[in-house]
Symmetry: C2
DNA sequence: TCTTCATACCTAGACAGTCTATACATAAGT
DNA sequence: ACTTATGTATAGACTGTCTAGGTATGAAGA
């Protein structure tokens, strides 16, 4: 999939991944790739700025970790991040519903 | 709904609307608003450039029409536009499926 | 008559977020 | 030594939506 249509959905998906527990950026990229069946293979230039944005917005907190001699920045949801994660899922559902309605009814169960 | 997440989906939705027959830009905006239950209220600065893009790409053809003293530009799908409309729907389905998978399984039937 | 609203199109520039390309660094395998 | 995988980061390009402004007609109401 070519990915400009990701616009506006990346943040929500990152929050969704972090809802299952703290993780570092590289790990989130892997998890996104895994969950989406390879569909979403985020560029580094996408994921790191997104995480910084989210942290600036107070939705994430981070701490440095060293594992096997390599350092990682591990992110976790703040309280407002948890709320945002729920909110983003709701937004996605509404968006999905609206787009489905535009594309028309019948053939959509095939998704 | 705030609409940056529309990015990349507008073209497909316009093609979807035109799959039901020729229509002019203003009418498409109305139809999009109607089908989406008011969710998608496209700015004119969004819809007209999008239509021009689509026509430049050879997916649409247009002709001027005068109705009640007002002129309209009526768009219709070209042959490649029809193919693109099908393709875009398929792309949307794949995208939807992938995002759903990222957001996690259970609660998604609620959409 | 004048104003306002709905219809109808258009565009320049702002803006936001993704992508490309590059850089740095460690560990493990060949 | 070299490559691959892990891991983070940023500048600048790019794309597409949004803001805000413009043009124009017709109908309704003050």
């Amino acid at each position: 999939m070519k990915i400009p249509e990701l616009q506006g959905h990346v943040d929500g998906m990152l929050l969704a991944v972090l809802s299952d527990g703290p993780l570092h950026g590289y790990g989130m990229a892997e998890e996104l790739r895994r969950r989406s069946g390879g569909e979403f293979d985020l560029a580094e230039g996408t994921i790191y700025p997104a995480l910084h944005r989210l942290e600036s917005a107070g939705l994430l907190t981070s701490r440095w970790e060293v594992v096997g001699g390599r350092r990682r920045r591990v992110y976790a949801l703040s309280n407002s991040g948890k709320a945002a994660a729920v909110d983003r899922r709701t937004t996605w559902l509404a968006f999905r519903c609206a787009v489905d309605a535009v594309f028309g009814g019948e053939a959509l169960e095939a998704g």
